[in-house]
């Protein structure tokens, strides 16, 4: 059982919406761009949009946290931290937020830029290992997905420490 949480925002759906209107205008003959071209662009825009909406995914590969988009080296990049199960110590969930604590010695996960581990404060979550979740977040579904894919990995309260 997987758990996926997405956030639908204007940045994700606007390009697709514009191309959908363009497709309608093209089919009606109002603009001289072949509908096939617009369809391909629409598919690309929808795919890109879908990529950017991911907030949280729990599956057999591990946990992915979608941290938004940033502009760097001349392109907009989707920031996504992916942590495989072998490196997950525990998943933490709190009001409006989900995060991952790593096992000692685990490497910097893919997509994360940095983390500082302080042995005196082992419960501090690195900013790149936590994500704000929308109101539709369902903790019971998260727990079920973690239990299904990451046996032995606990889901604890974010504010436990």
């Amino acid at each position: 059982m997987d758990y996926t949480l997405r956030r639908i925002g204007p940045a994700a759906v606007l390009p697709g919406a514009i191309l959908l209107v363009a497709l309608g205008l093209s089919l009606a003959g109002a603009i001289p761009i072949p509908p096939e071209v617009i369809l391909v662009l629409l598919a690309l825009a929808l795919y890109q949009g879908l990529q950017r909406t991911l907030v949280l995914r729990v599956d057999a590969d591990g946990i992915r946290l979608g941290r938004g988009v940033m502009y760097e080296y001349g392109a907009a990049r989707t920031l996504r931290t992916g942590v495989p199960w072998e490196h997950v110590r525990e998943v933490v969930a709190g009001p409006g937020e989900v995060g991952v604590r790593l096992k000692e010695g685990a490497p910097l996960p893919d997509g994360a830029r940095s983390m500082v581990s302080d042995p005196g404060r082992p419960d501090v979550l690195a900013p790149d290992l936590r994500v704000a979740v929308p109101g539709r977040f369902d903790r019971a579904e998260l727990e079920a997905a973690v239990a299904a894919h990451g046996p032995g990995v606990p889901v604890t309260d974010l504010n436990r420490a």
Binding site: Y73, G74, A75, P107, L108, S114, V116, D118
Partner: protein, 140 residues
């Protein structure tokens, strides 16, 4: 003609300003940074520009080191290069901000050339713009 010249001057000033700003920021960072001996744990690539690498790749080392107070830092070291210079397991010296150890840089990599290019382009555009202004005034 004067308008085009002024556009050149503005572009030049903006480019030079960015270059000078980045250079000053780097100098400030280096002046206050702490140094550490780090181990490369990974080397990541990032495409430059749109189109998935059409503009080339930047190679960024991921390093691990310990601060004097016992914290372990894992971070992408800023200032990657377009040539893969590092391999996992390699040791290298890094600079980091003691107030924010996640801000790690490899001294002397990347940034200096980019700053010089920005400042150079800026000065060139500004001079070209001023030359055009002078020409248009001389002509009439």
């Amino acid at each position: 003609m004067v308008l085009i010249a002024l556009v050149f001057v503005v572009i030049g000033v903006v480019f030079a300003g960015i270059g000078i700003g980045v250079a000053r920021s780097s100098r400030r960072f280096e002046a206050t940074a702490a140094r550490a001996r780090a181990t490369v744990t990974d080397v990541r690539s990032r495409a430059v520009g749109r189109g998935g690498g059409g503009g080339g790749l930047i190679w960024i080392p991921v390093v691990r080191f310990e601060t004097p107070d016992g914290r372990t830092v894992d971070a992408e070291a800023g200032g990657g290069t377009n040539v893969k210079q590092w391999e996992p397991g390699q040791s290298l010296d890094v600079s980091y901000d003691p107030a924010n150890p996640a801000d790690v840089r490899v001294p002397g990599s990347g940034g200096g050339l980019i700053q010089a290019v920005f400042i150079g382009i800026g000065v060139l555009f500004a001079l070209l713009g001023l030359l055009l202004v002078a020409l248009s005034v001389a002509i009439g």
